[in-house]
């Protein structure tokens, strides 16, 4: 056992790893002709919004969320690439699995970000800095992709640190130095501090983390409750948030799709909703999950319309989910133009217990079971309701918190 030198041993040691411009980097890795060029990844060929872009593109001021049109005015040579979600998912899974070699306490934060709690690995692997280097090597070995790695004593500072050294950087902020390093940083530079809170703090003359850290904690707690207390601790480099490595069932499971411009025909929306219902249902069934509550939404100019709709019994049948979508259209959609559909199963739970008086159609369940088996073998929607023949080739929306399918099982 390595010696526990009191100066080297950190009370908490957290590593944050962030894949730089992940999707764009994968494209540049796989297609050498793209290297060194400004790349914008969009949802399929028709995607108008940039999901992510390479650092070369960022140099022109292009950023995630920008419309492609706008990007072209900044840089006419920007190269559009359709996203390849399956490839990204595969790579992400491989990276996350390789990181388990460093510490089993890993929180896959999103498809391209993870936190590792290495506190308990210090006697095994050595200093946190050394383990940070291990993370860089693991990512390199698993994917040959660039990443930024921040090592510190809490999640917030580690993430903040990794942000400082993009792209392809490595940085260590020992916990005892964290507060001093954050002292002059704007509060809004910390992840999770929204503009609204920042505005409130600014009104109290607190612009930097140092300012906030000097405010009495009660000021924040009174105004923002527990969140206020949390922010105060974050500003002191003492973010109490734990790296949650539990392999619990996903909190939600959903699919969304961008609609063609000006979509406001009921029939079109129904096709899209059926498509999403089939996808969500199939995915629930694949993981032996069922849900009672579903978010059914349409994105309109003023924001999301729709809401939470419930089944009488937890279910995973596409038909049942689709019926909720129909109810949502009847109830809240007033023919306004919409850009995106979303169907999300909220709080899915293990399915499997059969019901004596199941109102769901046994035949329908059998049909979906066969469909699942065929589709697993021949690919998604090899067998599908006829209506989906009209489904669009519009690509799936990749949510920011999107996580590769089933990564938890493989880790």
């Amino acid at each position: 056992m390595a010696l526990r030198d009191s100066t080297d041993f950190w009370p908490r040691a957290i590593i944050h790893v962030d894949m730089n411009a992940f999707f764009a980097s994968v494209e540049q890795r796989d297609f050498p002709e793209l290297r060194g060029k400004p790349i914008a990844v969009t949802n399929g060929e028709q995607g108008a919004t940039i999901i992510t872009c390479s650092y070369e593109a960022r140099a022109f001021g292009i950023h995630t969320g920008m419309r492609l049109k706008e990007a072209r005015t900044l840089c006419p040579d920007v190269i559009q690439r359709p996203a390849r979600p399956k490839v990204y998912a595969h790579i992400s899974t491989a990276i996350m699995a390789s990181l388990c070699e460093v510490s089993p306490d890993i929180e896959v934060f999103s498809v391209d970000e993870a936190f590792l709690d290495v506190t308990r690995c210090q006697s095994l692997h050595g200093t946190p800095e050394r383990m940070g280097r291990m993370v860089v090597d693991q990512v390199q070995a698993a994917s040959s992709l660039p990443c930024s790695v921040g090592v510190s004593g809490d999640k917030c500072t580690a993430k903040f640190a990794a942000n400082l050294v993009k792209p392809n950087g490595f940085i260590v902020i020992p916990p005892r130095e964290a507060r001093a390093r954050l002292e002059h940083e704007p509060v809004t530079a910390l992840s999770g501090v929204a503009q609204g809170i920042g505005g409130y703090l600014a009104a109290h003359g607190a612009h930097t983390c140092g300012d906030v850290a000097r405010l009495p904690v009660s000021v924040l707690a009174r105004r923002f409750g527990n969140m206020g207390r949390h922010i105060w601790l974050m500003c002191r480099g003492e973010d109490p948030d734990k790296v949650s490595a539990d392999a619990a069932a996903p909190k939600s499971l959903g699919h969304g799709k961008v609609l063609p411009p000006g979509a406001c025909e009921r029939e079109v929306l129904l096709t899209y909703f059926l498509h999403m219902s089939e996808k969500v249902g199939a995915r629930l069934r694949r993981h032996d999950l069922a849900a009672r509550r579903f978010f059914i939404g349409l994105r309109a100019a003023q924001g999301w319309i729709g809401g939470t709709f419930s089944l009488a019994q937890p279910g995973n049948e596409a038909r049942a989910i689709y019926r909720l979508c129909c109810a949502m259209l009847r109830q809240v959609w007033q023919a306004q133009p919409v850009f995106q559909v979303q169907v999300t199963a909220l709080a899915p739970e293990p399915a499997g217990q059969r019901d004596l008086f199941s109102e769901t159609d046994q035949k329908q369940q059998a049909v979906e079971h066969v469909m699942d088996q065929v589709n697993r073998r021949y690919g998604e929607f090899a067998l599908a309701p006829a209506r989906l023949l009209q489904r669009s080739a519009m690509p799936n929306v990749i949510a920011p918190s999107w996580q590769p399918d089933g990564h938890r099982q493989s880790i």
Partner: protein, 329 residues
């Protein structure tokens, strides 16, 4: 309760007769949506009809006898076959838990082997989840149950809920009937009935509430302050501090009325006004600012009204309104 504040109000008779007739024909709906502006006594109507339905010996006009054991319990709010749900706190929503409790109650058979009646007021305050939970009961209501949904903004209810209810609309009574009733309630203060009714959009109960809250005095003071603001004698931020404790909804309502009157005055000096008693002051204000600014201010007022349901800082909204007062120099 004072005379006139329980039981039936004079302008309810058409709706009342219609429901009583349906009751006699054994053709009562399972769900009723009572809608109409605030201050017409919709809740009172629903209560009176509920009591009549539970009463053992209703009179010839269909009204409750007030004497039978059922009426005694009803008046003590202990009748087991009558339930009402409302937001737990002022301004909050009616949550799904409340609706679930209501459903758990309504799926049990009745206590007195008669009707079981539930009131949801204001129904528009139900969250989407709560409304969805209620939907199933609206679709398959138990026998001998009556759900009464009350709202002054039916558009806030999902279409699926609305479509499963029989609608009953309440409109403001004629001015004479409203004024006569209000004068009786006001007693000594009968002469303020006119301005109160005008302020309340003709809704008598709302006018009566205004009288109790001293809204006319507030209105006079606010108008005076707005005149001072226009003359540059008052500071908007200081004024906002003074008016901070008052109901912002009320202030927005009064300002909207005044600006609408100012627009009218710009069109025709002799135009009929909602606030005829303030004609001189309003004319002076109207003369001092361009029509465009009045319209823009009306937009701001309706936007503010929309934001009132949101958890925003009321003081800031008020400051914005006072700073933008179009008549200000």
């Amino acid at each position: 309760m004072s005379e006139g504040l329980s039981g039936l109000l004079p302008w309810h008779s058409a709706q009342w007769d219609a429901l009583v007739a349906r009751r006699h024909a054994a053709a009562l709906p399972h769900a009723l949506l009572l809608s109409g502006p605030e201050g017409l006594g919709k809740k009172q109507f629903a209560r009176a009809f509920s009591q009549a339905l539970l009463c053992a010996a209703p009179g010839a006009d269909g009204q409750a006898c007030q004497r039978c054991p059922a009426c005694v319990m009803f008046n003590a709010d202990t009748h087991p076959d009558y339930q009402r749900i409302a937001p737990k706190e002022e301004g909050k929503a009616i949550g799904i838990d409340q609706v679930r409790e209501l459903i758990a109650w309504i799926v049990l058979k009745s206590h007195a082997a008669g009707y079981k009646i539930a009131l949801v007021a204001p129904a528009g305050r139900m969250t989407m989840e709560a409304a969805n939970a209620l939907l199933k009961t609206l679709e398959e209501p138990p026998d001998h149950s009556l759900l009464m949904l009350i709202t002054d903004r039916p558009a806030l209810l999902p279409a699926t809920v609305r479509s499963r209810c029989q609608k009953m609309t309440f409109t403001a009574p004629g001015h004479d009937m409203a004024a006569a009733w209000l004068r009786r309630q006001l007693g000594d203060d009968a002469q303020s009935a006119g301005p109160l009714l005008a302020l309340a959009g003709g809704a008598p109960l709302r006018a009566l509430r205004y009288a109790r809250e001293g809204v006319l005095d507030q209105r006079a003071r606010l108008f005076n302050d707005m005149l001072r603001l226009a003359r540059g004698e008052a500071d908007p931020v200081a004024l906002a501090a003074v008016w901070d404790d008052f109901d912002l909804r009320q202030i927005v309502h009064m300002l909207s009325n005044w600006v609408a009157d100012m627009v009218r005055l710009q069109t025709a000096a002799q135009a009929p006004l909602t606030n005829p008693d303030l004609r001189t002051g309003l004319a002076a204000l109207a003369g001092a600012c361009p029509g465009k600014r009045l319209y823009a201010y009306l937009d701001q007022l309706s936007e503010t009204a929309r934001l009132l349901d949101k958890p925003l800082n009321a003081r800031l909204l008020l400051e914005d309104l006072l700073i933008a007062w179009p008549a200000a120099r």
